[in-house]
Every structure is written in structure tokens, then in C-alpha cells.
């Protein structure tokens, strides 16, 4: 009996303890909330305004590259915004981090959550923007822009703004893109010199050069040479594939191109199969990265290039030379005398180095319908569009972060400290209305990009930018969204890369059958729907 009593006591004590814990948790939860409102109230009164400060929530990309002591939600630029925009307008600007690598997934979740979604969100994916607009999830900004967006309108111009329209209404503010070039290639000049070979000028010559790299192994890699560095990222695939596309009529280009995500893919255009066949040949002759099908984020490629195994590759314009990736500098450390030189090689049947370029807009900045701070959001973007503010967000403090050279291009002083540099480590993600520097002319904009590199690589970077901007063609301009692209885009993009990988890796005698069956699958999974819709739209606009 005594034992039973004891057990009973134990149980009730336990229960009491549990209840107490529950209460405590509840209290502290409330306490936290009270405290938060308290501080924001204080902030408002210290700014000297009668009404309480409002909070404006702004999305920001998290790339996991914050220097010690900083974060994407708290750094020099967030403070700059708060001091120069937030305080005077009695607004608390709060940044909401979203991982760069899964921005669309995270954004979908945020949008679905309704209340928690930031007041300013953005995406590079046009189809995502169309989907949100179509489902009625975005604020119509047409009027707000007229009322409060004078600077913004002036900065972007009608051409750029047109990209943010859906059914005639301004549902997004597209960022303005300064540099439209996408891709350049690079070759190991020191290997060419060693073999006494000229720089290849056409795709055909490139094939012979790659073969020579493989057979003679000028880098002394001990059989580990990778003549052509390849991945399944657009920067390595696009330039090669597009160079095989035949001259096309406007109608073909309009109806046979498919836009998946933010890129145009030439999957149905004449010549696409030849490109695959060429890749198949390169792969089966051992002229290309063997594991390219595993390399989505280019990490393996960068490692191989830095270790001096790769002979030739195409890449996003200046990526091989900038301070962030440190590819060229690591290579030169590992292989003294290595020289990775920008070249323009892939050539189409007309003898042009045809390559795609960007549309004149960057990401789509949107304000969700559920947001109560649309006016403040436009105010923020408008403030950012004032030239001085944008310039400061992109270049920092004069005399510390930069000095202007004779052409009016900002140049980093020689003795700039790491700490000063770090002020701007995520300036590209903060100055969302502009992709790249806006200095008034293409040349100046490009020169600003070049000046951001370390002096040793500025000439090469300049050359890369020249290459990435020559013989380019723009993405197909669509007068209205293609619904099938919005719906099937992600699925088909995966399939597109699957087609590339499978047809490249298959034994040459199986190429034909693999290509046929995969294309059939692609068309059945939405490719045909996109084709039909684009064809209809083309006829309609005729």
C-alpha cells in the first residue's frame, strides 16, 4: 500500500512539474513578444515621430559567404539602408534571408504561408513570376509606381519595366541589367605553346587541339588530363550547343525554342542533335570530364581547372579571373607558368561565334498581395534608384572603398583593407534593382567590372567581357506568358539536362535510339504542349 501511495505521489508531482514547465514556456513566449513590441515602439519615439515605426520586410539571398562578424541581415549595407532610408521615413527595414541555391522552393513556401512572406520578394525565374501573377498573388504596382516611383521609373526606363508586366499590369519591377554578355571561353595558352599549336579558331580546330592535349598531355598530368572541362551547368553546355544550331527563321526561333526557368533552350531547333552527337564523340574519345554528369555546381570543374588538368572550357564571362572563385590564381600557384587565356572558339555554320545574351532585365522584384507595406516597399526601391544611393550601395565610401579614375569609373585603392572591402561583400544582393554597375555606358559598366578584379587579371577579364559580348543574340521576346512553360518548366529543365548527359555518355552505336526515346519522353512530358502554345501564339501575333 505504502508503495502504491508513493507511486501516486510521484505521478502527481511529475504532472505538476510538467504543467509548470508548460506555463513557464507560455509565459516566456508572451514575454518575448511584449519585449519585441516594446523595442520597436521605442525606436519609433526616439526617431522623434508621433506614429509608430512600421516594419518593411525585404528578402535577401543567403550565399553562406558572410565575413566573420557579419550576416546578410546585419552588415554595413543593412545599416546604411536603415540610417539613410529607414530612420528618416520611420521604417524598420528587416531582411529575410533565403538560401540562394533553393530560392524558388523557399519562395513558394513563403508565399504559401501568407502572413510571414516578406514585403519585397524576387526571383530570376520568369515562369515563377508569371505563376504568382496568374494566381493573383501579387500587388498591382501600376498606380503606386506613378505616385511614388519617379526615380525608379526614370532609372529603369519603359523597356525594362515592360518585362514586369502581366496582362497589361505592372506586377513586378524588373531589375536593370548592365552587362548583357553571358559566356566566354578560355584555353591553356602554355599548353598550346608547348605543343607549338595555334589558338583554335573554329569548333573543328578545337577538336584537333583537344585531341592533341589528350595524346601529348602537355601539362604532364600523368594521364589525368581533361581536354574539355564540362559540367551540367549552362555556362559549359550552352556555348557548345548553340554553336551547332543552324541559321533559323524568326518563326522557327519563336516556335521551336523552349524557355525553361530563366533560359532559352534550343532543344527543337535544327542542329541540336548535331551538338549532342559532337558531345558524344568527345566523351567517348575521352576528351571531356568523365564525371560531368555529377557536377551541377561546377565545384569539380573549378577544382580540376585549379589543379591544372583542364585544357579548355567555357564559363560565365569573368568567373575564371575574379577574386571570389580564385581559379586562375590557384592554378598559377599549383602550376607555375600556367596561363589560362580568354578565347572565342565555338563557331557556327555561318562562321560566327554565336552565343546567347541576357534580356535587358535582371530579377523580378515582386510585392505579394498580402503585404500591407506596398507603398513603403516602392518607396524603398525608389530611394535605391536615386543615383547617389545606388552608387554608394555598389561602391561604398569614396576614398576608402574606391576613387574615381579619369573616365569616372570607380577603382579600388591599392591599399584597401579586407575590412573595408567586406562592407560590400553582398552588395549585389542588396542593390536589387540593378544587376551590375550603372555608369551611363556599356563600356564604363564593363570597365567597372574589370576594375573590381585584382590588377593582375584585369586585362584577361576585359578580354573575356569583350568575347562574351560579341556575336550575341537576345532571348526570344514573348508577347505573353506561355502557360505550359510555367507549368512544366522545372520538370523539363531536369529532362533537358538528362538528355544531354545520357546522349553524351552512351556508346556511339546506341546514340540514335537513346536520342529518339528521350526526345519522345521530353515531348510527352510537356515539350509538345509548349510547342503547340508557342505555335499558336506566333500565328496569333502574325
Amino acid at each position: 500500500m505504502g508503495r502504491k501511495m508513493f507511486g501516486k505521489k510521484m505521478a502527481s508531482t511529475l504532472l505538476a512539474a510538467l504543467t509548470a514547465i508548460g506555463f513557464l514556456a507560455g509565459c516566456s513566449g508572451n514575454g518575448g513578444k511584449d519585449a519585441a513590441t516594446g523595442t520597436s515602439g521605442n525606436g519609433g519615439s526616439s526617431a522623434g515621430a508621433a506614429k509608430e515605426a512600421v516594419t518593411l520586410k525585404v528578402e535577401v539571398f543567403e550565399r553562406g559567404n558572410s565575413p566573420a562578424g557579419m550576416s546578410v541581415t546585419n552588415n554595413y549595407l543593412t545599416k546604411f539602408v536603415q540610417d539613410h532610408f529607414g530612420k528618416p521615413n520611420n521604417i524598420n527595414v528587416e531582411y529575410v534571408p533565403v538560401p540562394r541555391s533553393e530560392e524558388v522552393e523557399k519562395l513558394n513556401v513563403l508565399m504559401a504561408s501568407g502572413g510571414d512572406v516578406p514585403d519585397i520578394v524576387f526571383t530570376y525565374d520568369q515562369n515563377v513570376f508569371y505563376r504568382y501573377a496568374q494566381q493573383g498573388g501579387l500587388t498591382d504596382l501600376t498606380e503606386l509606381l506613378d505616385q511614388q516611383g519617379t526615380n525608379l521609373k526614370k532609372f529603369l526606363g519603359e523597356d525594362t519595366l515592360a518585362y514586369g508586366k502581366f496582362e497589361g499590369k505592372q506586377f513586378a519591377i524588373p531589375a536593370k541589367r548592365a552587362n548583357l554578355g553571358k559566356y566566354a571561353s578560355a584555353i591553356r595558352q602554355d599548353w598550346l605553346d608547348k605543343l607549338g599549336l595555334p589558338v583554335p579558331k573554329t569548333t573543328e580546330e578545337l577538336y584537333n587541339t583537344l585531341k592533341a592535349f589528350k595524346e601529348k598531355d602537355p601539362g604532364g598530368t600523368g594521364g589525368k588530363v581533361i581536354p574539355l572541362g564540362m559540367t551540367i551547368a549552362p555556362a559549359q553546355i550552352d556555348p557548345l550547343v548553340w554553336s551547332f544550331i543552324q541559321p533559323t527563321t524568326d518563326e522557327q526561333k519563336f516556335t521551336l525554342t523552349q524557355r525553361l526557368g530563366s533560359n532559352d533552350y534550343p532543344i527543337l531547333l535544327p542542329g541540336f542533335k548535331d551538338a549532342l552527337q559532337f558531345m558524344n564523340k568527345l566523351y567517348n574519345e575521352g576528351l571531356m570530364s568523365k564525371d560531368f554528369g555529377l557536377d551541377k555546381d561546377k565545384k569539380q570543374l573549378y577544382q580540376d581547372v585549379s589543379n591544372g588538368k583542364v585544357g579548355f572550357l567555357s564559363e560565365d564571362d569573368t568567373n575564371l579571373y575574379d577574386d571570389g572563385n580564385k581559379i586562375s590564381s590557384t592554378l598559377e600557384q599549383n602550376v607555375p607558368g600556367a596561363n589560362l587565356k580568354p578565347v572565342d572558339v565555338y563557331t557556327n555554320s555561318e562562321g560566327k561565334h554565336a552565343k546567347p545574351r541576357y534580356a535587358p532585365n535582371g530579377m523580378y522584384i515582386m510585392i505579394p498581395k498580402s503585404s500591407e507595406r506596398a507603398a513603403e516597399a516602392i518607396k524603398y526601391l525608389d530611394w535605391m534608384a536615386i543615383p547617389d544611393n545606388l552608387f554608394h550601395m555598389q561602391n561604398g565610401v569614396e576614398g576608402e572603398n574606391y576613387t574615381l579614375n579619369e573616365n569616372g569609373v570607380p577603382v579600388a585603392p591599392a591599399n584597401v583593407t579586407e575590412e573595408t572591402k567586406n562592407r560590400l561583400y553582398n552588395s549585389g544582393d542588396m542593390a536589387i534593382i540593378s544587376n551590375g554597375q550603372q555608369l551611363g555606358s556599356d563600356d564604363k559598366n564593363r570597365e567597372a567590372t574589370v576594375q573590381a578584379m585584382s590588377p593582375k587579371y584585369q586585362d584577361k577579364a576585359r578580354e573575356s567581357l569583350k568575347i562574351s559580348n560579341s556575336d550575341t543574340f537576345p532571348p526570344v521576346l514573348l508577347s505573353k506568358p506561355i502557360e505550359a512553360q510555367t507549368k512544366y518548366g522545372t520538370t523539363l529543365q531536369d529532362k533537358y539536362f538528362e538528355i544531354i548527359v545520357k546522349t553524351t555518355m552512351v556508346k556511339p552505336d546506341k546514340f540514335e535510339s537513346t536520342y529518339e526515346s528521350m526526345m519522345k519522353d521530353y515531348m510527352a512530358s510537356g515539350g509538345q504542349a509548349i510547342l503547340d502554345e508557342r505555335t499558336a501564339l506566333y500565328k496569333e501575333s502574325k
Binding site: A11, M111, Q135, I226, K290, D291, G293, L294, K487, T491
Partner: protein, 300 residues
């Protein structure tokens, strides 16, 4: 004893039950409200109530998608192979560990075997590509050193299946032994001693004492596993898989991730989820029924 008296006397026990019950209500039954998304043209700006009913429209669409059947086939195939390979692995391991006489060696082995269970699949994915890569992977470097050709462990779909299964065993077998080892402690030691006196060798003892002692546990785990036949974790196929082997690596969970989270077609994703739940239930009940008939052991 009447119900009220009974309740009054043991109310503490019922009070203790409140928390687990609340857990199931909030996290398992509450979300079932969302199942209606499968029958609606879900628009997340309008919310569940604001979206229109569309009947079985979405089901028709899903059952017409080629990707659905491919991912369904792959899910069943990967789970089926896992059942053949990964299910017996912890059992064998547990029996071996049980036979070990040296305590410290047993403890050490167990700890080493558990470790992979605590490594995230993202990291395992990275390790796998370093170890099994064609160009610079450890295993292939070794094979090349012996003078043989490379083996595309990750890029050829058949080799990839092998890699997928081996990595699965490595990751989960050690952890899986826990439940068997727990069951083994319940076997009366005297049985072993008696068998030894009667002249039974080690294998005889394992076969006639250890295995029968584990039978209920094996059957319970088998039923649970069969119930999961149609559902597959997202992380393992997603992180071990790659574009080259999508033909086998694309499973229902990655399919749901793609159409649901990436493309925002929540209705389609919900339909697939509901389908998985219903088929999973059928599998569990079926396995339970079969087991009751065949062995008299069941969990329901």
C-alpha cells in the same frame, strides 16, 4: 468496477496519456485537413477554402503522367531491393555482435557501426562522389592502380543501384542492430547452456535458439517495412542520385518535391501523397494479415 470509478482511481495514468495523444492529434490528424487540396484547384494565395473543387481531375492528370509510373516503379524497385539487402543486414550483424565474447570489442564495434546513422545524407552524398567518382574517386583510383578499367559506380544505372544499396547498408545496418540486440537480452541464457551441454555447436545454437527468439521482432519490423514499401525517404535518392541515372533514381518523393515545391503544383503533389498513404495502408494490413495466417504473429 464501473468506468467512472476506474477513471477516477487511475486518472494520473490517463493524464500522462494526454501529451502523446495531443501529439498525434496536432501533428498527424490535424494535417489531414489538407488532404482536400487533392480535390481542389489549389491556389495558395486564396488558401484551401478559397480554392475551387475540381473532383477527381487531378487524379486523372497524375495517373496520366509518365513520370508518375516511372517514379512509382523506381520507388518499389529501390525499396524491394532494400528489403532484400538492407533488411537482413542488421539481423546478421546483431547475431554476430551477440556472439562476441569480449565486452570491450563488442562495445567498440557497436559504436563504430552506429556512427554512419548520424551523418546527414547531404554529407554522405559528398563522400560517395569522392569515393565512387569515375575520374578521381578513391575506389576507381585503386582499380586503375591495379591496371583495370574504371567502373562507373555513379553514372551507369546498374552500377548505381549497387552503390545505392551498399551505401544504404553502411548507413543503416549498425543502427538497425539496436532493436535486435534489445530483443536478444530477453532470451534465457540457460537455454544456451543447456544446448551446449546437449552438444549443440555454435551454428545450431544460433539457428535453434537465437533466431526463434528474434522471430517476433523480425516479423514486426518486416510489417513496418512493408508498410513503407511505397513511401521512400527524400534525402537518400536525392543525394546519391544524379542526372545520369535519373531513370532509376527518380522516385515518388523527388517527384513530389519537383512538382510540388519547385513547380508550385501543390494539388498534384497532394494527390501523390494521398496515393502513397492509401497504398501504404493496404500493404501494412496485407502483410499483417498474411503474417497472422502463416505464423500466428501479428502486430494488430
Amino acid at each position: 468496477m464501473s468506468m467512472t470509478v476506474y477513471l477516477r482511481r487511475y486518472w494520473q495514468l490517463y493524464a500522462l496519456l494526454v501529451l502523446p495523444l495531443a501529439y498525434f492529434l496536432v501533428f498527424k490528424y490535424g494535417p489531414m485537413y489538407g488532404i482536400q487540396i487533392a480535390f481542389k484547384d489549389f491556389n495558395f494565395f486564396q488558401g484551401i477554402n478559397g480554392s475551387e473543387w475540381i473532383g477527381l481531375e487531378a487524379f486523372k492528370e497524375v495517373f496520366g503522367m509518365r513520370d508518375f509510373y516511372i517514379t512509382l516503379r523506381n520507388t518499389l524497385m529501390l525499396n524491394g531491393l532494400d528489403l532484400l539487402v538492407s533488411f537482413p543486414a542488421p539481423l546478421l550483424l546483431a547475431i554476430m555482435l551477440y556472439e562476441l565474447k569480449s565486452i570491450w570489442f563488442k562495445k567498440l564495434s557497436q559504436t563504430i557501426l552506429y556512427i554512419p546513422h548520424f551523418i546527414s545524407w547531404v554529407i554522405i552524398g559528398g563522400i560517395v562522389s569522392q569515393v565512387f567518382g569515375t575520374q578521381s574517386g578513391m575506389v576507381n583510383n585503386f582499380i586503375a592502380g591495379l591496371g583495370f578499367g574504371e567502373i562507373p559506380f555513379l553514372l551507369d544505372k546498374h552500377y548505381w543501384l549497387f552503390t545505392y544499396l551498399i551505401v544504404g547498408v553502411w548507413q543503416s545496418a549498425g543502427w538497425g542492430t539496436i532493436i535486435y540486440l534489445a530483443a536478444l537480452t530477453g532470451i534465457n541464457k540457460e537455454l544456451f547452456e543447456a544446448a551446449e551441454v546437449d552438444g549443440a555447436g555454435r551454428l545450431k545454437r544460433i539457428w535453434h535458439i537465437t533466431v526463434p527468439g528474434l522471430k517476433p521482432t523480425i516479423i514486426t519490423l518486416l510489417i513496418i517495412n512493408l508498410g513503407h514499401m511505397i513511401s521512400i525517404g527524400f534525402e537518400r535518392p536525392f543525394n546519391i542520385g544524379n542526372t545520369a541515372v535519373r531513370e532509376y533514381a527518380d522516385v515518388l518523393s523527388t517527384f513530389v518535391y519537383r512538382v510540388g515545391l519547385q513547380s508550385g503544383q501543390y494539388t498534384i503533389a497532394t494527390v501523390v501523397g494521398l496515393f502513397q498513404a492509401v497504398v501504404g495502408l493496404v500493404f501494412v494490413l496485407g502483410a499483417n494479415y498474411a503474417s497472422k495466417k502463416l505464423t500466428d504473429e501479428s502486430i494488430l
